[in-house]
């Protein structure tokens, strides 16, 4: 087998992103065809492109497949409590303002168990980027219905089809006050790279929702195929770029998900009581 390799015996080119990866954690534990690896790659390209220092970054992850993404990168990482990523991030950020904090969450982690924290982080404009990998189900636990499972989809806990309408997470983030909100999908790597990079350079609460494939569970149960390629095709089929969506009526948009940037604004970031204290300290000085 080795003899068949064309460049056997010669040095293979090293992926320039490998320097950011914890190689001692390999092999990774994602299923074949999972989109989490693509999100990891996109994130690291963003870090590389912006010249961010991973030594000064903290990545935060709760529970689930997406929560394993930070385990493979050379950052300090909090891991392993379902839905509490944003409170962790808030404690870190309020105590050490200079630390860059990025949250990785699945759809269940972000807006099911973590839904209350999500809207309040957006309301406060917590200075954190949250990358939500939406694979339309609870994957690590075996493929149960999630807040963003399409209506009618068969999952392990909706054997007759889901009777619940799904969340539009980006609309929720926008309504609650997030200052950067975008939706992209793994079939469009270029767009995902641009949005994650922009999210990384944004000051304030940024949400990048990535529609991603889960061939093992969502693919097999909801779509009847474990083929990653078919799942990518399905995702492509439900995505509508924002420009086109603006010209479409609600009936045409039924079952579709709009991709693009929805919010990109600047407003003061949340600093807890220290913000007010610092401000009034300044006033005291002026008055004196």
């Amino acid at each position: 087998m080795a003899a068949e390799l064309k460049n056997a015996g010669t040095a293979l080119p090293v992926n320039p992103l490998r320097k950011y990866v914890r190689e001692d954690r390999m092999p990774h534990f994602f299923c074949p065809g999972c989109g989490c690896g693509q999100v990891l790659g996109s994130f690291l390209r963003g870090v590389d492109g912006l010249g961010l220092d991973l030594d000064r970054m903290v990545t935060v992850a709760g529970v689930g497949c997406t929560a394993r993404i930070p385990v493979y990168m050379k950052t300090d990482t909090l891991h392993g409590v379902h839905g509490r990523t944003l409170p962790w991030a808030m404690g870190i950020k309020l105590h050490s303002k200079e630390t860059k904090v990025v949250v990785f969450a699945g759809d269940g982690d972000a807006v099911s168990i973590g839904g209350n924290h999500f809207i309040h982080a957006a309301r406060r404009n917590l200075d954190v980027l949250m990358i939500v990998v939406n694979n339309f189900n609870f994957a690590m636990t075996g493929g149960q219905v999630a807040p963003m499972t399409p209506a009618g989809a068969v999952t392990m806990t909706t054997p007759w089809g889901s009777g619940e309408p799904p969340f539009d997470m980006c609309a929720l983030a926008q309504a609650a006050g997030a200052t950067y909100v975008a939706r992209t999908a793994t079939p469009d790597i270029g767009q995902m790279d641009r949005m994650i990079k922009k999210g990384l350079s944004h000051s304030g609460f940024g949400v990048v929702e990535v529609l991603s494939q889960c061939p093992t569970h969502f693919g097999r149960y909801a779509l009847g195929s474990g083929s990653p390629a078919k799942l990518l095709d399905w995702i492509r089929g439900i995505c509508v770029p924002k420009d086109l969506a603006d010209a479409m009526n609600p009936e045409e948009l039924k079952g579709k998900l709009v991709t693009g940037e929805f919010v990109d604004v600047v407003r003061p970031v949340f600093r807890g009581s220290s913000f007010v204290a610092d401000e009034s300290a300044g006033k005291d000085a002026e008055e004196a």
Binding site: R22, D24, R25, L54, D55, R56, M57, V58, V60, P70, V71, K74, T75, D76, T77, L78, H79, G80, V81, G83, R84, L86, P87, W88, A89, M90, G91, I92, K93, L94, H95, S96, E98, T99, K100, N116, H117, H120, R271, G272, S273, S274, V276, A277, S280, A281, D284
Partner: protein, 380 residues
């Protein structure tokens, strides 16, 4: 905002909840997150005014889950962090405490015990504060019995949290939290303050969960300093890497409880009153120590040889102190403001070496000395 003194040295007439705040500040607390709940609210309220004025950060979380996990995040970033709640709120904190135990994050939690849904006096959380969180652990729990001890024990709670890198609970009660009495705050130099051991190793040589003994406490590096630590609640090896090997699992979940129980004698101190020649000893923690002392004085005046043992830290359980007591007296009486939860532990530790009895009640109010005397008539 004018900067204020961190330590309010002097003699005060102060509410218990406020004393806990001043104790936290004296111990170096620089992050507090809380969610409104009676009768713990004065802690958040005073913190919101005092903490920013000494350079710290106050946060009112959207719920207790937010508060405890923000405390965990701040702690891992290097803060001395605290939250406060009352019994029902403590239910929610257990998830964050489970995390704090697993990643060895120092944090302080004040639980002002109250009856279910109402704000009457009780000691009903005595088991919850230890065994509530999932997973194997040994929680450190301090039970103050006065406003002064609310100050002193909160300082001690921070010190123990830092020394053993673990959550520590100050088990307060409605009775003392809302009581006002004399509080003496010493000069800052006279208040012992302990800090966690920060590592001087390089990221290349540092192992975040390696201790120097099977019951040791690892050195701390803190977030955002280039050490690349994974703080995972999952079983992890000395590198912090998620590890499913049973040996690594056992090593971790043996060391974490052992670092507390091996130091039980230092942590779970007890105090005695007239116990040397006592034929019967009243054992209590928290506010119930006070009527016990009163009852003891009355009985001594009647010529009955009665003493009191006060347990400062109900958890880790003071096994040796109770065993020793049971060998020296004829009768051990547990006085408790619940259906008799801790009494079971006391009686177990006496191991039949002496008679035991319980004076317990759950009526939303502390025992009066007369009630204790009345109950003792049958057993003395």
């Amino acid at each position: 905002m004018k900067k204020e003194k961190r330590v309010l040295t002097g003699v005060h007439f102060m509410q218990g909840n406020y004393a806990a705040v001043e104790g936290a500040l004296a111990a170096g607390c620089d992050f507090f997150a809380g969610y409104p709940i009676t009768p713990a609210n004065e802690i958040s309220e005073r913190m919101s005014r005092r903490l920013p004025a000494v350079g710290g950060v106050f946060l009112q979380g959207e719920d207790e889950l937010c508060s405890i996990n923000a405390v965990a995040g701040a702690s891992l970033a290097g803060a001395k962090a605290m939250t406060a709640t009352a019994s029902a709120g403590y239910d929610y904190l257990q998830e964050g405490l489970e995390y704090g135990v697993a990643v060895e994050a120092p944090m302080v939690i004040v639980d002002v015990q109250r009856c279910r849904g109402e704000n009457f006096a009780t000691q009903a959380d005595i088991m919850q504060v230890h065994w509530g969180p999932a997973g194997d652990h040994e929680m450190i729990v301090l039970a103050p019995s006065s406003v002064q001890e609310l100050f002193d024990f909160t300082v001690r709670a921070f010190n123990l949290a830092e020394e053993y890198r673990t959550p520590v609970v100050v088990l307060s009660e409605t009775t003392i939290a809302l009581m006002r009495e004399r509080l003496v705050i010493p000069e800052p130099d006279a208040i012992p303050v302990m800090n966690r051991k920060w590592t001087d190793k390089t990221p290349e040589t540092y192992l975040p969960f390696k201790a120097d003994s099977p019951w040791g406490v690892p050195e701390f590096a803190g977030l955002g300093r280039g050490y690349h630590t994974i703080y995972s609640i999952n079983p992890h090896d000395e590198r912090g890497s998620i590890e499913w090997d049973p040996d690594a699992f056992e090593r971790l979940y043996t060391r974490i409880p052992l670092k507390v129980t091996k130091n039980r004698g230092k942590i779970s101190t007890v105090q005695h009153w007239r116990a040397d020649d006592a034929k019967a000893v009243l054992v209590a923690y928290g506010s119930e120590v006070r009527p016990c002392l009163d009852a003891m004085n009355t009985l001594r005046e009647q010529g009955k040889k009665v003493g009191v043992m006060k347990i400062d830290a109900p958890w880790p359980f003071p096994e040796e102190a109770v065993a020793d007591l049971s060998g020296r007296t004829d009768l051990v009486v547990t006085v408790e403001m619940n259906i008799g939860k801790y009494a079971g532990e006391i009686e177990r530790a006496c191991r039949g070496r002496c008679r035991t009895a319980r004076v317990t009640k759950n009526r939303g109010m502390i025992h009066s000395p007369e009630e204790i005397l009345e109950s003792l008539k049958e057993v003395l």
